[in-house]
């Protein structure tokens, strides 16, 4: 009786433990599920702001426009129908507020009761018009032709060069500048952090005497724990003004500021991972080198570094991963302009910073909201790729031993 009870208890505990063990896996799966469920939503949405429509005169040959074309038309960069496959005639833009230029208040009636009718007249009269107005003013006998906007495609999303998620009448959801911004800032960070971090790791692992090492190591570990928002704050009050002064820029919030801050933040990771890797070099290997007349430095660069190269690459990849995913520090110092970066002295905007800055204002379920989740998907896939690479590299390393 008591034995059975015991057995039951053991089984129960094992169940609880197994269930706990599965929490991380379930979480990852749920993250994937929710991110993609929301994020993929944008591909079934048209980029016209919700509750509005675009229409042309019936005689117009054009019946479909892309989001980019719409934006260019409203920015007056495209001014002729010919440019979008229509007749050679100037495009006449009509937005709802323009109605007062056509009709007096009386003609629109009390509470704009006649507005739908008036819009009908305007659209019917002008063969070159492009009208943009809210759905609610669409009369049932509308004489114009609705312009269909294609759904956002994966290609438009990934290769689009413009990120204007709230612009009217058609939102622009090109994430290329954000992806490039993220990679740009991270690349700069790793260019700063890798040489410094490696040098420090080599120094700590092979050159420093134990006393110095025992002082430096905890200091570096400590810095891994400083919150990113504090690094961001430091960047904001020290590095940003410094860059502004040194390079004589109008603003100091630049990719360079982001790279410097991220580089500093990636240092502890790079140092400790690559130092650990170098320390695993077998003593016998070092002794063999010294016994052949190599000195310490030759042993370091001819034996220890080649031997720990996979650990060092792991360190670099992890450093990049940290930089790519970092949110707050970048948000605070890069200036967040969503343009494709050309130099390190321009403001840039990264994917995490975009999510953090915009999610609060994006109405839930709207296209902007979904686009931010799609950005989350991209970010997730980037870091997943990095994790899997690290797993792969370290598995390979074990195999080689």
């Amino acid at each position: 009786m008591k034995r059975n009870f015991h057995k039951l208890g053991e089984k129960l505990i094992e169940g609880v433990i197994t269930a706990s063990g599965l929490v991380t896996s379930i979480t990852v799966l749920l993250i994937v599920f929710y991110l993609f469920k929301e994020g993929l939503g944008i591909f079934s949405q048209t980029p016209v702001a919700e509750g509005s429509l675009l229409a042309v005169n019936r005689q117009n040959q054009v019946s479909e426009l892309s989001a980019a074309q719409v934006k260019d038309i409203f920015d007056q960069e495209i001014t002729n129908w010919q440019e979008v496959g229509g007749a050679n005639a100037p495009i006449k833009l009509f937005e709802i507020d323009d109605i007062t230029a056509y009709y007096t208040e009386e003609q629109l009636g009390p509470d704009f009761a006649f507005l739908p009718q008036r819009i009908n007249e305007v659209v019917a009269k002008d063969p070159h018009i492009l009208a943009y107005f809210p759905d609610e003013y669409l009369a049932h006998n509308f004489p114009g032709k609705r312009i269909e906007l294609a759904n956002i495609s994966l290609g438009d999303f990934l290769a689009g060069r413009q990120w204007y998620p709230t612009i009217q009448p058609a939102v622009q959801l090109g994430v290329l500048p954000l992806i490039l911004g993220t990679l740009w800032v991270s690349l700069g960070a790793i260019l700063i952090a890798l040489p410094l971090g490696l040098a420090t790791a080599i120094y700590l692992a092979e050159i420093a005497d134990p006393k110095v090492r025992n002082f430096l190591k905890p200091v570096i570990e400590l810095l891994a724990g400083i919150p990113s928002v504090v690094y961001g704050f430091f960047g904001l009050v020290v590095i940003v003004p410094l860059i502004q002064d040194v390079f004589g820029l109008p603003v100091g919030e630049t990719a360079l500021a982001g790279s410097i801050v991220l580089g500093i933040m990636a240092l502890p990771t790079i140092i400790s991972v690559s130092e650990d890797a170098m320390r695993t070099t077998p003593r016998a290997m070092k002794e063999a080198s010294l016994a052949l007349g190599a000195n310490k430095w030759q042993t370091i660069y001819k034996v220890i570094i080649p031997y720990s190269v996979s650990g060092i690459s792991t360190a670099a990849i992890l450093g990049i991963g940290r930089a790519i995913g970092e949110t707050m520090a970048v948000l605070m110092v890069t200036g967040n302009a969503s343009v494709i970066p050309h130099t390190f002295l321009e403001p840039v905007r990264t994917i995490p910073a975009t999510i953090a800055a915009e999610l609060g204002e994006a109405p839930q379920g709207g296209i902007h909201y979904q686009a931010l989740f799609a950005l989350g998907c991209i970010l997730f896939l980037m870091t997943l790729a990095i994790n899997l690479t690290v797993d792969f590299v370290s598995a390979k390393k074990k195999e080689n031993r």
């Binding site: 053991e10 094992e14 433990i17 197994t18 706990s20 063990g21 929490v23 991380t24 979480t27 990852v28 799966l29 993250i31 929710y34 991110l35 929301e38 410094l196 040098a199 420090t200 080599i202 120094y203 700590l204 050159i207 420093a208 905890p218 570096i220 570990e221 400590l222 810095l223 724990g225 400083i226 919150p227 990113s228 928002v229 504090v230 704050f233 430091f234 904001l236 009050v237 020290v238 500093i264 240092l267 370091i300 995913g325 949110t327 707050m328 948000l331 995490p352 999510i355 953090a356 999610l359 609060g360 931010l372 989350g376 970010l379 997730f380 870091t383 997943l384 990095i386 899997l388 797993d391």
Partner: protein, 294 residues
């Protein structure tokens, strides 16, 4: 043949070694100097702001004066809440991986997923926490939603330290206990866990440091821009130190006027991290000694 006098090759070897070592020493010390400058700068700028009033009062005048009490209290709630979630599950999960799981695809899968979760950017945790806890489960912006999100973020850290701590315990202890007729759980709970405890606790403390400084996961799950009252329940929103620092240094009503408050807040955050690290180091040493004496 003769080696009594230094050979020509020796000289050039020695020179390149001297140069290389000099460069490495220089770079290493500049790295440490950079890091210490950051710490020192904030500590020096912040210390003058710290006062009893600063720590115990509500923010006033558009967060340019007064204190940061609600942010401190909020962060405290979040730390406690997330640890209540992450610690038991993390430790049990570590036990599962190291003690219970058979060497199967499931174990490999769980390890892989734990690794991947550790690499997920914190803003993605924020997105996830918002969809699942805030919207789907209907917790709203609340301590509950924020703590769960932060707890998930801390989970891989707790699991890893538990795993490492358990791994370092010699198998003979387990075999010895099992041979005496103890069950698996008895062995785990009475022999293995107590031995691993100091290291597990160290991991827990370090993850407290991590959780208290995270901003991105709480942006959309709990953090309030300005809320001059203390929370009453886990369904309330709170202010939090890292978010507060972000707000007053980038988007407050008067950024220049709240600079002092920002330094003070950064100071408090750094002090928390310092204390957490000191405590962890002290524990490590304390238990290290005890183990040696036995």
């Amino acid at each position: 043949m003769a080696f009594g006098t230094p050979s020509p090759s020796h000289k050039s070897k020695k020179l390149s070694q001297s140069i290389a070592f000099f460069v490495f020493r220089l770079l290493s010390f500049s790295v440490v100097a950079i890091l210490l400058v950051i710490l020192g700068f904030i500590l020096v700028q912040g210390i003058s702001v710290i006062s009893w009033e600063f720590l115990t009062q509500m923010p006033r005048e558009g967060m340019t004066e007064g204190g940061i009490l609600p942010a401190i209290v909020g962060t405290l709630w979040l730390v406690v809440g997330s640890m209540l979630f992450a610690f038991p599950i993390g430790v049990l999960s570590g036990i599962y991986i190291n003690e219970y799981a058979k060497d199967s695809w499931l174990k490999r899968f769980v390890k892989l997923m734990t690794n991947n979760l550790a690499g997920v950017p914190s803003i993605v945790f924020g997105l996830f926490g918002m969809t699942l806890f805030v919207n789907q489960l209907g917790f709203g912006d609340s301590i509950l939603a924020g703590s769960l999100t932060l707890g998930l973020l801390a989970l891989p850290v707790v699991i890893r330290t538990t795993e490492e701590a358990l791994k370092s315990i010699d198998n003979s202890f387990r075999v010895g206990s099992l041979a005496l007729g103890a069950t698996k759980w008895q062995t785990t709970s009475r022999v293995v866990l107590p031995m691993a405890f100091p290291n597990i606790i160290t991991g827990l403390i370090l993850s407290i440091g991590r959780v208290s400084g995270e901003t991105a996961p709480i942006l959309f799950t709990v953090a309030a821009y300005f809320l001059p009252k203390l929370p009453n329940s886990i369904f309330d929103q709170v202010m939090a130190l890292p978010y507060h620092l972000y707000v007053i240094s980038t988007s407050g009503t008067n950024i220049e006027a709240s600079r002092a408050m920002a330094y003070g807040t950064a100071f408090v955050l750094i002090v928390i991290v310092l204390l957490v690290n000191l405590l962890a180091n002290w524990l490590r040493r304390y238990y290290g000694k005890k183990v040696k004496m036995n």
